[in-house]
């Protein structure tokens, strides 16, 4: 739809996410309205990795659905690349908290879905999907069905399915929340490696502050009831970050300068 956009500053800007004065109210079944988000203002620069942390129920996921165009703000504006979001954008990918893989499609079929939906010829789409599966370390698993994979492998498939569309914006809603600590660390590393290749703007929702610091350039802290932005921290750890678990356990986190500390005191 936006394929005609000239290759100028607009294109460079198209990964920029801006929320200004966003309020979101939901109608409860009882007829009263419930405010999930109040006056949220935040910006994610093109190519920036932004983590959003906060307790459950603070509207983190709601923020993502509005940026994705699945939902609309009650007040304020959400804009992507300088244009207000008015529906599902072409350059956006979303990784859900729970698996959004189609259980009746093979791994290859799941990854190829994005290009196929966008009219890429089947042969190219499948070849593309094979490449992406190799990149996330799942070569040889093309013909499996999702239920035959482990939780971590399913996440890899989801990641490949989200990145194959070459998004300018990648929205992630606690994608590794259900994984064990080791798998989570491995997946985080892999995410950073892949992100580094195409540098989409990322909003990464999590309730794990360590994970947020290890991954992001910027951490937005939100509070609940109703959800508001409490503070924004810049994380100036050098990139590439290397092993995420080292940051977690005292590699060089800003709040944890000694290597001897058995665990980072970020909480």
């Amino acid at each position: 739809m936006r394929s005609n956009t000239p290759r100028d500053s607009q294109l460079a800007q198209s990964g920029r996410i801006e929320l200004s004065g966003v309020t979101k109210r939901f109608q409860t079944p009882g007829g009263t309205s419930f405010t999930a988000l109040r006056d949220v203002t935040m910006t994610v620069e093109p190519g920036e990795f932004c983590a959003v942390v906060g307790p459950s129920g603070c509207g983190k996921s709601t923020t993502l659905t509005m940026v994705a165009g699945l939902d609309r703000a009650s007040e304020g504006t959400v804009s992507v690349g300088g244009e207000p979001v008015s529906g599902i954008g072409r350059g956006t990918s979303f990784m859900f908290q729970t698996d959004a893989l189609l259980p009746w499609k093979t791994v290859l079929g799941n990854v190829a879905m994005g290009p196929l939906f966008r009219g890429v010829p089947k042969k190219n789409a499948l070849a593309d999907a094979r490449d992406w599966l190799r990149m996330v370390g799942l070569a040889g698993f093309e013909d499996r069905h999702p239920h035959q994979l482990s939780g971590g492998m399913r996440k890899r498939v989801s990641l490949a399915a989200a990145l194959i569309n070459e998004p300018k914006i990648l929205l992630m809603d606690e994608p590794f929340g259900a994984l064990d600590v080791q798998t989570k660390a491995i997946m985080s590393n892999e995410l950073l490696t892949l992100w580094d290749q195409s540098k989409p703007s990322v909003i990464f929702v999590t309730h794990d502050l360590e994970e947020a610091i290890a991954l992001a350039d910027k951490v937005v802290v939100m509070t609940a009831g109703p959800g508001t932005v409490k503070d924004v921290f810049a994380v100036d750890l050098p990139r590439p970050r290397g092993a995420v678990q080292e940051i977690r356990f005292g590699g060089g986190s800003p709040s944890c300068t000694t290597r001897s500390g058995s665990r980072c005191a970020t909480r």
Binding site: L102, P103, W104
Partner: protein, 301 residues
């Protein structure tokens, strides 16, 4: 709508037809394996045979001893004789195979038309909320109607040929499949739909790639029950008025006080239903091959 949910729930467990036949094998454990279970299986089969011998042997014995009147209750040997006679010399309406074929044709056509209609309307109404809200009272009314009585109307409108039976059978099948398809569409995981939309799927692509495969579990489950209804529609239609078919043969036996003939007709229909059930089980396993092993498949074996 409460009835479709309840209907569908029994459907997911393998359908009431399957449950009915499953009574015999209730003791069989689907997941057990090895020598121990083989011994167990053998015992179950032996017990099944014993049940058969007790029922049919007792029936034969009691009717032979005239404790029970064979005129009213038939007799296994008489039933077998009737079946052999039909197979050799044909029924009063032509060969036995022709009668079976006519009924099968009606049931299968009705099944196919009803299933196609049920899936189509179910998916459509499941997707378009406005349409389902508008049509909801009419569908409820039609569903509340004892649909068999429509057979009388169809025989008048469509005549004594196979058309009236096909229409009745498809009507019965339609509602079973429709409610399950509708419910299946409503139960589609919103996450999957959102994900497909974000990946770039159009509405039609979402329906084809997400909604229909997801509802397929429900639809397939309803097919077990639906084929039973197709047979009911065909037979009832024939009883209400026809020139050929098993229903006619049964009615004719009834009119001549030949209970053995009624039982013989019942046995043929049962065999047809069991074969169809088995075929639908095969279809189910093929279409739902992606699923991890479930009890549904085990119960339809």
């Amino acid at each position: 709508m409460t009835s479709p949910a309840a209907q569908a729930r029994t459907g997911t467990n393998g359908g009431s037809l399957a449950e009915g036949t499953g009574g015999r094998s209730a003791g069989r454990r689907p997941r057990a394996a090895g020598g121990r279970s083989r011994g167990r299986k053998l015992r179950v089969h032996a017990a099944q045979l014993a049940v058969f011998v007790v029922i049919f042997g007792g029936w034969q014995l009691f009717t032979s001893l005239k404790i029970v009147d064979p005129f009213f209750f038939g007799q296994p040997s008489g039933i077998v004789r009737t079946l052999v006679d039909w197979a050799r010399h044909g029924t009063g309406f032509g060969s036995l195979w022709q009668q079976i074929w006519v009924t099968m044709e009606e049931a299968i056509l009705g099944f196919l038309i009803g299933t196609a209609g049920g899936v189509l309307v179910g998916v459509l109404l499941g997707q378009v909320r406005f349409l389902s809200e508008v049509l909801s009272p009419y569908i409820k009314a039609l569903n509340a109607l004892p649909r068999i009585v429509l057979g009388a109307l169809f025989v008048v409108v469509f005549g004594l040929g196979i058309e009236s039976k096909v229409v009745l059978a498809s009507f019965l099948v339609f509602f079973v499949v429709f409610f399950n398809a509708f419910q299946g569409v409503r139960e589609v995981d919103g996450n999957l739909v959102n994900n497909a939309r974000i990946l770039g799927a159009s509405r039609l692509q979402v329906v084809r790639n997400v909604v229909i495969p997801s509802a397929m579990t429900w639809i397939i489950a309803s097919l077990h029950v639906a084929f039973g209804f197709a047979v009911i529609g065909a037979i009832v239609g024939e009883i209400l008025g026809a020139q050929h078919g098993l229903g006619v043969v049964i009615t004719n036996s009834q009119n001549n006080f030949e209970t053995n003939g009624i039982f013989a007709g019942m046995i043929i229909i049962t065999v047809i239903a069991l074969v169809a059930e088995w075929l639908i089980g095969l279809l189910e396993r093929r279409l739902l091959a992606w699923r991890p092993q479930t009890t549904t498949e085990a119960s339809t074996l």
